[in-house]
Point group: C2
Chain length 551, copies 2
Amino acid sequence: MIISTNKRLSNFKLLPIALSILPFTATANSNVVHDAEYYILEAQNGKVWEVEDKDLDAKLAELAEEYGTPPNIVHFMWDDQPMGAIGVPAIQQSRGYDTPNLNQMADEGMLFSRMYTEPSCTPTRAAALTGQHPIRNGMYRVGFPVEYHGISEESVTTANILSDAGYATGFFGKAHLGDIEESYMHNQGFDVAFAAIYNQVASIWNEQGESANATIGFKDSVLAPDPYHLDDTYMSDDIVLFYEGHKGQQAKEWCGVSLDCYNQFDQEAERRALDFIETNAAAKQPFYVAWWPQWVSFIPEQQKSSRQRGIVGDAYQNNLDPSAGALMDTLKKAGIEENTLVIAMADNGPMTHNPPAGLGMGEGLFRGGKGDFTEGGVRVTAQAWWPGMIEPGQTVGDIIHVTDLYTTFARLGNATENIPDDRVIDGIDQTSLLINGDTHGRRDYVHIYSGDKLGATVKKHYKMHWINTDPTAASGIGSTYYDLLNDPREQSPLLVNMVMHGNSFARMRERHEMMMEKYPNKKAGQGPAYTGMELLNPDTKEISEPLIFIE
Amino acid sequence: MIISTNKRLSNFKLLPIALSILPFTATANSNVVHDAEYYILEAQNGKVWEVEDKDLDAKLAELAEEYGTPPNIVHFMWDDQPMGAIGVPAIQQSRGYDTPNLNQMADEGMLFSRMYTEPSCTPTRAAALTGQHPIRNGMYRVGFPVEYHGISEESVTTANILSDAGYATGFFGKAHLGDIEESYMHNQGFDVAFAAIYNQVASIWNEQGESANATIGFKDSVLAPDPYHLDDTYMSDDIVLFYEGHKGQQAKEWCGVSLDCYNQFDQEAERRALDFIETNAAAKQPFYVAWWPQWVSFIPEQQKSSRQRGIVGDAYQNNLDPSAGALMDTLKKAGIEENTLVIAMADNGPMTHNPPAGLGMGEGLFRGGKGDFTEGGVRVTAQAWWPGMIEPGQTVGDIIHVTDLYTTFARLGNATENIPDDRVIDGIDQTSLLINGDTHGRRDYVHIYSGDKLGATVKKHYKMHWINTDPTAASGIGSTYYDLLNDPREQSPLLVNMVMHGNSFARMRERHEMMMEKYPNKKAGQGPAYTGMELLNPDTKEISEPLIFIE
């Protein structure tokens, strides 16, 4: 790593303490190119981490001996729920729903109070699979049809690195990572894929949706004729929602675009995910599963199951919580629950967080939701379950970021050497947090992007908004500064504290941007949509080529 | 009860369902005059409650047989903390403090997600001791020196009714219920009292406070001379903060007004409370203790103990949580933990809830704080602990109001017959909720007063703001209506739902006001301050008589 010279470090304007203890110690992750901030922490904590790592290696080796394989990994992720939505009965009682299975999982495992994601679906999913903030690979936009865009073939995903380490890899659920051939999940390292291309808005891309949601307006067949209409390409009916595929083979469109297909998709994904787990468990084959349910339909059931009667409360009770129960049952039945790490989490904050619209979605402790760089946008409900390895009943206060799953899964699967060293990996190995518990995290910071702009940076429990939306909150450097423990809703910027902390934040940002200059950001993949796929509707071919394409 | 005639009921505009199942069934509480709403519930649920009550009586009789006394009762109450502040590690991690003892108490007992209080100190404390909304007895104002005002000699407090039933009764901590003789706690039914007259502002009524808090401005000795000064009575130094007393005897001022006295008060209150418990336990004498710590000083310690570094986080860790631990230890050492109900709770929402002022105080899930009729003002952290009688690990969703402690303590102490029948008692017997758990509460409503105005009414998880602060939230009847499960921050009034629910709320209010006409509200006590007390400072006598008194 070029960073390990004094000259380079002085360019990075490191803190004096970091300069004084050079050279950097080597760690298990030494082949990975981290973001600058990590090296500041490693320089100060690397020796302690080295000792911890030896102990962790011994624990994992013991487990591998017992089961004959490295641990299985299940990443169970759904949409749009703030920290506290799961595992906190006082909050569930206040919101009117109950998730006994997920709460049991939290009670038996580790609840994260500071799991950060990207602020929306596509970016978080890309971050989970690449270990990078999506600014680095162009996946910072939320995908809608038709995109002609998606996760690039240059990506090296969790599925790639774990496949190369001998894992069976399966994707089941909502991918939301592009509609071009290279972006299909079985072209991104997964052995098998059963995937939704876009998001839950697909539940109202139909006649039923148009009649239930007067303001959507894209089903021309039921809308009044528009006498000012000039452009047929603005919105198309002939899209693909779902596909299935196997590594190295052509994809097949699944079912179609009807509401029935939408509603059957999650059940089918669950069936395939649990089958995949059972089959591999029986074969003593280690596996990695990304099971990302759609979980909600924007056309809710008439019969309500939650007191809340909102789509979220009902979706927890009808869809997601029973799936979590089935997952735990399947792992226990296969006798591998103590050799399987389950991470269950949401991908970003609540979408519609201004009631009454979006009944049932709403803020928790924090301000904002999906799309926002305030804590409400990026601080999600998340928990880890691994009986025997993770101490039950913990609520940890360490910062963890969704990209850390990439590096942590790699470590657990003996796949760290497969992580490419030609790019910055924002993820950090958090195995010690999982196994050693509270205060053993290796991250005290997180950068929060809003699209392709750096929206905010968190360090410790302090936060700088680089994008200042309050013209009255003068702070000397055009930014606003918050103490998250004392002002979790980020409503009262602190001017005096800013005087002392502002430059530390400015240096963090500078280091981050210098690293970005050294390893420039890449674009996402782009090209014709829906190629390499056996289509059900011949009309779809007509829109698979973009009308105009500017390189 | 005059309500039990059809004619009267039709005046009350009861719902058809209530009319059809008349006459009302009798319950264990039949001598108590309840508010109108209770009778609506009793008419529909009385038969079920009767069966439950028989079973509860049997359980309590069994316990009494084992211990030879009815259960002891400890009401441990502190200031200004919202629901979730205790017993919810995810929230504590997010606010930067930890309360291991109180959390253990919550884990081993019942956490209330809907404990409602009055919106500030004095009203809540009066409500707890009288079982009435303080509008009924004039105690709706927060007391500051000199008040010439306090809880009236006509009050019949929890201490009165439990004393008459054979309990030893002790008050230790912040009373905040008046500075006139009749309001002293040992003149309100307590055998012994060690009490603070006013509130935590007393921690800055001194030179240290004036220098630490530039905006307070009442210590003339350190302020610049005011050339416009005309009135010497506006603020006086010669006040009394603390007293001790025994039933039937003259009070004694304790210690004085210095910051040292303030800081020693809580320790002394704890010592006396635990002594009282030990002594009575040894004598097999049933007891009722109101232990209401001051818990915070507005001049915080220099050395911080909580990550939050705010007065609240530090006060939890340094003061309150160790006290809760000492309480549990004392009960266990005396072997009476299974014969003692402990209610631990805050008296209202966070005082300064707009950070950064009041570092450490802040909103939880709900909007607003002390003084507000939004949920943030009145929905507090609260829990019940009674090993063996209360099932551990519960988080209940039933509504309970601080006045319910009056009727519930009465029931447990065989003192229901001592409740006066010449006034409305807003409290409801919630023994079934405590012992039978979630969904066994007997209240689905609560009226929330803002001073002497009805601010809002809650029914089920719906809420009507009678005082509408949003001129753009037209609702047809000048009020605004919220769904608390879907909009816990009460930010988006619902107009369409109001059409259906509005009249149900209007009828509730009408019934409540008709009951108030029948049983008119009384005034608080008023008179000279600090009489009947052995004073330490002879100057105090000068201000003990109000300068003007209009009857």
